[in-house]
């Protein structure tokens, strides 16, 4: 571990100068004026357009590809299929059952089986439609139920359950069951969810001799570069990945995908730059999705409201291979949320002929906590307790698996500050009349594991013109990395924020700060490295400044953006002048500090929601939400609000609207369009989504920061579902809670 010793922690009892203040997003003006260049905008001279050929059956083999008609389309340059695609030396993913980027084996409808390259995108599209493919179709399994049926075809190994049953456990479940006065049990389900980033996946690949430049829409330029270099059999310095601005990722763009390799190889084959971007319909396939899950949850509690056990049996849809199967389902974060000694979860990841699940904001945790927090709500009602009070009585102090105290647990602060801001006054659900429009309130909480340590490098430099530049090797996907590291550097260097620029997104010109932005960890991993780099820069500036002022090292101090004589501030040299005098630039380099022992980092939060339900149609409107989050230390409240707004709305989409529909016969995704796959629109917005800072001091790093990207999505779903129950007395345990499900639940309630 090459980490450095942590510097003195930032104070938690008084405000800082720059960090913690609202600062306008650094890239805002560039983005709204169109100056920001995304990979979609790149068009080098001589660029060709490629489009992927995708399998039309969910399982089987490509026997033959007939390109005769397609090749006649004017402007077509090259058509490749599984039998003539130039395969690169390395496998697409590490591991034994990796599939080449283009292969004759088909494991889900839409899988990549070839590509067309043409002078224009229209020519490529027309040609692609004329390619004729002969398949040998094999029986496919499209749902978990299909896969677990007794006569189901087995997709690999001995059964359609990946690597057997995965069990998480702590305490003794039987002791917990024996100690319970009240036990409830119910089944819950979540549907797949598509990322639907505004900018689709894609890249432009161009070779210059043996060096590949890839302008790419991804979540981590260094991660993509390293993986792609390995696949292509090249040293890192022969692959340059540029991701200046990215139109959203949400987890879909973390990994190397077949299109990266295909574009690189097509560019090499044709000797021209090749642009390969998905259209919207393809984007639903290319992005993969959050896995559908199903679970049964059994809880026990004493009559005075203490949880005694939580027992779950969970299934998740894992796609056709072991790759990414861990994204199919989880239960760990739900088990971190409340203090319960005896917990168990059995997880089965089920093979299916559907695209493998890849992370989507809060992967496995949203699915888990959307369900668990409904079960907690059901237990509160069984005990006749206010659901908020029930949660207050069960705050965890220790992480159940590592058995370590949390470095900071702001859950209670979130409950109290959130409830106060919301005006939480609970009353039990009332019976509603026929076709009434009724209102209700609900609460739901979140715990999400953080990141204690990862190696990270950052640089902070001063140029001769006086500008200070933070250099971080990461891709900014909208979370604010273009802004907050400048704030951290400004704080550490004790200079105004306006002097600082942030350079990111190009593997050739940045140190490796992180492989990819995901798991709400970029601030906590990279932030301390930036602070260390700023401190290293200051040391260099003091050293050079002393020398240039011909003073002893202990006779100079920093004075604004300059080094001055300790006893005469009038004798000074600016940072820029120092840089000019020492070769044009002074660079401070820093590494991520060593983590403390004996603590576990996790983020916490609680959402309070009011909904209105039209019992005549089943339609649910979210009226308002208060979202309290413990992020350790909020670096920029303006950007924190953005994260909370966006996360809450994606959680609302997952909870109420979003559901991919798959044709059980052909395996095709039926609603792979923005009009048919329903994401929230303006007319679905609540009147307000209010962020409440529930942060408490966190000692997992010297900045006291954690993360905020994913918890706002994770906490939203159950809060909404619980509010629907409060409004109507009818509970829907299957997400998305669409109007038809509300109507069915209401009908069942009136029959009961």
């Amino acid at each position: 571990m090459r980490a450095t010793t942590p510097p003195a922690p930032w104070p938690s009892d008084r405000p800082l100068r720059v960090v913690g203040h609202r600062a306008v997003r650094a890239s805002a003006l560039a983005k709204v004026t169109g100056r920001a260049r995304f990979a979609s905008d790149i068009a080098p001279v001589g660029m060709l357009h490629a489009i992927l050929l995708r399998a039309r059956i969910p399982r089987g083999r490509v026997l033959r590809i007939d390109t005769a008609a397609a090749a006649m389309v004017p402007g077509v340059v090259r058509i490749v299929g599984p039998f003539d695609f130039p395969q690169p030396p390395g496998p697409l993913y590490p591991g034994s059952r990796s599939r080449p980027a283009i292969d004759a084996e088909v494991r889900f409808a839409g899988e990549e089986i070839g590509a067309v390259v043409a002078q224009t995108s229209a020519a490529a599209l027309n040609a692609a439609r004329l390619v004729r493919v002969d398949y040998e179709a094999h029986p496919a399994v499209l749902t978990m139920d299909d896969a677990l049926a007794p006569d189901a075809p087995i997709l690999g190994g001995e059964s359609n359950i990946v690597s057997g049953v995965d069990t998480l456990a702590c305490g003794d479940i039987d002791v917990g069951i024996a100690a319970a006065d009240v036990v409830i049990e119910a089944r819950y389900a979540t549907a797949a969810q598509h990322h639907n980033a505004l900018e689709p996946h894609g890249c432009v690949a161009a070779w210059q001799d043996d060096v590949l430049t890839l302008w790419d829409s991804n979540q981590g330029c260094h991660g993509i570069r390293e993986r792609l270099a390995m696949v292509l059999g090249l040293p890192h310095n022969q692959v340059r990945v540029v991701s200046d601005y990215v139109g959203g990722g949400f987890g879909g763009k973390i990994h190397l995908k077949p299109y990266h390799v295909i574009a690189a190889q097509l560019a090499r084959l044709t000797g021209r730059p090749v642009r390969l971007f998905m259209d919207r319909r393809e984007e639903f396939i290319a992005s993969h999705q959050r896995a559908p899950t199903a679970r049964s949850i059994r809880l026990g509690a004493t009559r005075d409201g203490r949880l005694t056990f939580i027992d779950q049996v969970v299934r998740g849809q894992a796609g056709p291979t072991d790759l990414f199967a861990r994204n199919a389902a989880g239960a760990a974060n739900g088990m971190r949320l409340h203090g319960c000694t005896n917990m168990r979860a059995e997880i089965r990841r089920v093979h299916t002929n559907t695209p493998p699940p890849i992370p989507f904001r809060g992967p496995t945790a949203a699915e888990d906590i959307f369900c668990l927090e409904q079960a907690i709500d059901e237990m509160a009602h069984a005990l006749d307790l206010d659901p908020l009070e029930f949660r207050r009585r069960n705050i965890a102090t220790v992480e159940p698996f590592a058995r370590l105290p949390y470095a900071g647990n702001g859950l209670l602060a979130c409950y109290e500050r959130g409830a106060a801001a919301f005006g939480w006054r609970w009353r039990p659900p009332r019976r509603c009349g026929e076709r009434d429009v009724v209102r209700g309130i609900g609460v739901g909480a979140v715990a999400y594991d953080g990141t204690l340590f990862e190696e990270s490098h950052a640089e902070v430099a001063v140029r001769a013109n006086g500008r200070i530049e933070v250099r971080v090797g990461l891709t900014e996907i909208g979370c604010g990395a273009d802004t907050i590291f400048a704030q951290i550097a400004a704080e550490a260097l004790d200079v105004p924020l306006r002097l600082i620029d942030t350079h990111f997104g190009d593997t050739h010109t940045t140190p490796r700060s992180i492989d990819s932005t995901n798991h709400s960890r970029t601030t906590t991993v990279v932030g301390p490295a930036v602070r260390a780099a700023a401190q290293a820069l200051r040391r260099l500036l003091l050293e050079h400044g002393a020398r240039l002022l011909q003073a002893a090292p202990d006779q100079v101090v920093q004075h604004g953006a300059a080094i001055a004589q300790r006893d005469d501030a009038g004798i000074a040299i600016t940072f820029g002048e120092i840089a000019a005098a020492t070769g044009g630039v002074v660079v401070g380099a820093g590494e991520r500090e060593r983590p403390p022992d004996g603590v576990f980092q996790a983020m916490f939060g609680a959402h309070f929601v009011e909904v209105e339900v039209d019992t005549g149609t089943g339609r649910v409107r979210v009226l308002r939400a208060v979202c309290a989050h413990d992020a350790g230390r909020v670096v920029n409240p303006l950007l924190a609000e953005s994260q909370v707004h966006g996360g809450f709305l994606q959680g609302m989409g997952m909870a109420l609207l979003e559901e991919p529909l798959v044709d059980p016969i052909s395996g095709h995704l039926l609603n792979a369009t923005m009009w048919a796959y329903r994401t929230p629109g303006f007319a679905d917005l609540p009147a307000s989504i209010r962020f409440v800072d529930g942060s408490v001091p966190d000692r997992s790093n010297s900045l006291g920061v954690k993360g905020l990207g994913e918890p706002p999505l994770i906490a939203a779903g159950a809060a909404i579902a619980n509010a629907i129950f409060n409004a109507t007395g009818a509970r829907v345990r299957s997400y998305p809670i669409t109007p038809d499900k509300v109507m069915a639940a209401l009908a069942e309630r009136s029959r009961a």
């Binding site: 039309r56 229209a122 599209l125 027309n126 439609r129 319909r281 026929e434 076709r435 039209d614 005549g616 149609t617 089943g618 339609r619 409107r621 609207l657 529909l661 044709d663 059980p664 016969i665 052909s666 095709h668 039926l670 609603n671 369009t673 009009w675 048919a676 329903r678 929230p680 629109g681 303006f682 007319a683 679905d684 669409t738 109007p739 038809d740 509300v742 109507m743 069915a744 009908a747």
Partner: protein
């Protein structure tokens, strides 16, 4: 998208000449709100044969709104936004304006047309999928019926193989207003009651409307001052920018406190707007003040209809109760 030639029509008559000249490979295009989608998405079969010539009606001077005796004549190429803003339309057919406000988005309403809205193709997810074959696209069978998901099937089960629903919101509204569609063909002008426009839609493999391939829809005529009370409600899953999962258009003629005539028309329930004559019969002749809308709603949609259809029958009853109440109160 296969290449096509775009020709501007100078008038409806000129458009017909062009249709005759270019034959089956020519199609009319209004704003293109639906047609261009089908072309871009490569929904092969939905357009048979793939058009080589598109005849632009935007230049054909068919957008006027004018009085013709006591009837208001709405040009087929009038944009939805223009219709909704038009003083005479707002006064004579407030239900039409109400419906327009729930269609798509302001951007689309600015360019899409009355005729285009009425003649748009179904939104069935199987019909709209480029790789799935079906009856409406010249193939066999109905994949929606085979898939078995009640949410993807109509509320009213009908005789033909196609089980899509018609996506237009203006269709049920115009049926409720007893509107008449004016169609110009080679043998002259024809008037079709809106009620008959989609006859046999579920058995028609090429289209939903009974319009010959060489004819042009030129206008819709609505009688005004017939129905004193009108109301429209559209149920969508999303707050806006969504097609109707269910809709109801109600028009009532009330004199001296008694309902003399009534139209209750359901949308989003079948491949044609459906008049609920059972409910209408109960309402006609009753004193407006004595009508219990919930009872009427429950009388509508008797057992002959499909099963629950994912809660949509209850939704339709809710919409009937609410529109009837508003129409009577007006």
């Amino acid at each position: 998208m296969t290449p096509f030639r775009l020709i501007d029509a100078r008038s409806a008559a000129h458009a017909m000449t062009l249709l005759a000249e270019h034959g089956p490979a020519a199609r009319l295009i209004a704003a293109g709100g639906d047609l261009l989608d089908l072309l871009k998405e490569g929904v092969a079969g939905a357009l048979q044969p793939a058009p080589a010539v598109l005849i632009n009606l935007g230049t054909a001077d068919m957008a006027d709104v004018a009085w013709s005796d006591a009837k208001l004549r709405l040009g087929a190429m009038a944009t939805l936004a223009d219709l909704a803003a038009h003083g005479d339309v707002r006064a004579a057919a407030p239900m039409l304006v109400e419906a327009i406000g729930r269609i798509a988005s302001p951007q689309l309403r600015n360019v899409t047309t009355l005729g285009g809205n009425l003649l748009q193709r179904p939104r069935c997810l199987f019909f709209r999928h480029p790789l799935i074959d079906c009856f409406k696209k010249g193939g066999r069978g109905c994949p929606a019926a085979a898939a078995g998901d009640p949410r993807l099937q109509p509320v009213l089960v009908t005789a033909g193989p196609c089980c899509a629903v018609h996506p237009s919101d203006l269709a049920p509204v115009l049926v409720a207003l007893d509107a008449v569609m004016e169609i110009t063909g080679p043998s002259g002008l024809r008037a079709i009651p809106m009620d008959e426009l989609y006859a046999g839609a579920e058995r028609n493999p090429r289209a939903e409307a009974v319009i010959a391939a060489d004819a042009v829809v030129t206008a819709i005529q609505i009688a005004t001052d017939v129905f004193s009370g009108q109301a429209f409600e559209k149920f969508t899953v999303r707050g806006a920018n969504d097609f109707a999962s269910a809709s109801v258009a109600v028009a009532v003629a009330v004199t001296d406190g008694v309902v003399r005539d009534c139209r209750i028309v359901l949308g989003g329930a079948a491949l044609r707007p459906v008049r609920s004559r059972e409910a209408e019969t109960v309402v006609i002749g009753r004193k407006a003040a004595q009508i219990v809308t919930a009872d009427i709603a429950n009388a509508a949609l008797p057992g002959a209809w499909a099963s629950d259809a994912a809660g949509r029958i209850e939704v339709l009853r809710t919409l009937i109760a609410r529109t009837l109440a508003r129409a009577i109160a007006a």
